[in-house]
Symmetry: C2
Subunit: 356 residues, 2 copies
Amino acid sequence: MRKPREASASVEAVPQKTTIRDVARAAGVGIGTISRVLNSSSQVSRETRARVLEAIRRLGFRPNAQARRILKRRSEIVCFLLSNRDFLHPFHARILQGVESYASSLKHHVLFAVLHYSPRVPAEKIDLPPVLQEHGLIDGIILAGTIYPNLLRRIESIHMPFVAFSNNVVGTDGEQHYDQVGFDDFNGTLQATRYLIEQGHRLIGFAGDTSYPWIQRRFDGYRRAIRESKLKSISILPQNPDGFVDFGRKSALRILSRQPRPTAVVTGNDETAYALWLSLRRQGVKVPEEISLVGFDDREEAVLMDPPLSTVRVHKEEIGETCMKMLLERLHHPQMAFSHRILPTEFVVRGTVLHL
Amino acid sequence: MRKPREASASVEAVPQKTTIRDVARAAGVGIGTISRVLNSSSQVSRETRARVLEAIRRLGFRPNAQARRILKRRSEIVCFLLSNRDFLHPFHARILQGVESYASSLKHHVLFAVLHYSPRVPAEKIDLPPVLQEHGLIDGIILAGTIYPNLLRRIESIHMPFVAFSNNVVGTDGEQHYDQVGFDDFNGTLQATRYLIEQGHRLIGFAGDTSYPWIQRRFDGYRRAIRESKLKSISILPQNPDGFVDFGRKSALRILSRQPRPTAVVTGNDETAYALWLSLRRQGVKVPEEISLVGFDDREEAVLMDPPLSTVRVHKEEIGETCMKMLLERLHHPQMAFSHRILPTEFVVRGTVLHL
DNA sequence: CTGAAAGCGCTTACAG
DNA sequence: CTGAAAGCGCTTACAG
């Protein structure tokens, strides 16, 4: 027994109930004509079109999106799937914004979904959000967050087009058979370190946790620059840091106790740079007068520092846009070869590097 | 050149093409029976169900979500509409997370959309995102960001259920005929200021831009506490600040030049507190030894400070959850009276308040 | 240019 | 319990 929809008073007030048939009757035409007007088909006479548009306006008719989508065989909705992040960090939030902005400019929509999974569970045991279990609701997926091989395999198993934000892909090796967009970790620190060298620095350290593959790539970029100039690399990674502040304290200690003491430090990311900055200040060490500092990511922390942090800027919105663009290309050309686009980073000179 | 997934073999591999009719044929039953199994109707015999499930598995069948939704007359998708924010600030990002988390626990989905509009344009001129122009795609809206009266009227005009995050509603007065969820600005600063008084402070200033209604409410809470204890309120608002750092500099100046000098400052939000902290430090004024500081919002900045900021915590995820919950109630009970839920805040004691 | 009809992939009374 | 049929709100050949 289906319950009748609400009280009779609301019948006129709720335009949702008006269907294409009502409009056809009101305009005295067939339903096909209404559809043609809605889809701005050229084969409708001016007068008919005007009559139909007037009827649509008068009845407050809005076509049912679901019904259209069934026939169109495309929902024009993509899913932004954030995996294994307990909170939507500004970095990913801005990727999402880039996705949304590009998507909406093309009349597409973005569904936001979250997934938590263990990297150690077999692929088929990963419990995907319901939206990925159905089909027809979304056309494809933009995969962000931390991506382990099992998630990749799980997503592949549902045969839905997807694009992965590649920088936080962990533990996959060799060739990958999917579309990816990322930014250039290696060249980011390469450029930053070269800048320090140009500014006259010769004793340059690197502080960052290289157990993350992206920090490792940044470390590699740093080492390349160091080697190029025949300098010696100095790596600083505190043991068992107990949280953010403790991490800063321990690495500051290691830096300051080194003989000779580095004049500059390249950090694995802005957060590390921030923690270091706090600790150095606390110990009365001035940035950049006594130690120059360079970050990576250009997060909010960067401009909150005083002086503001010189860092490697990542164009987060552009990453989102490019993900969306690639996904659309994939949808239109399913047989196209897979590609991995790596977007350039940009070194931003602000206040934390001293010219020696 | 990487090769895409097999071309010819994909006919069987792509489950999207399998329909309920294929399954019916494979299982040797009618399509109605497949539907009943999918909807776990109890009126299917164990053997038939088993046969159908096996066929579904074998064919990799996943039902078409759009088709189901047409019949169900409910999409179980809500739209999170972020208005007039040029970027998804962590504050709103966490509201979104709360919405998503509650929604997904109930098998609902969240569509993320952005809107930019002028507060001065007539309501009917506001160009809503396409998803709000169709019907059937979403069941309702959660409205976040800065909300002016014209947007409210525009949303009301499309007759779609919605819930507004109320703290950033601007310029509406009197009774509001819609559902709202917000947090308690007034009691937040009331509690924070009382805490300062308990700690022995008698000269307490308030720094914040009261042209924003929410900061005005926070100012009111501060004044209530001040009046309760028969103290004198001291309001600090720098003229024409030129950005974040300049704002901090100017207000620090005003605070320090006052005779007698306040021993504590309640700020309109964490950002203000952070700017103030930076400037005070720069001028060699110690927090909290010489000046105590209290923030509002409990944003990321708060824990980035050293010592970490004592502030008024807002439960952002809970706001999102409550929005989603109210929207669902509204959907199930369209005739229910409108309500405005105001969630409590919580004062978090950290390191920036000195006991006198 | 336009209407009548078939059809998209489902759900759900209806009748056995 | 189950199948055949009607129907959800659209789009799109088809035939004039």
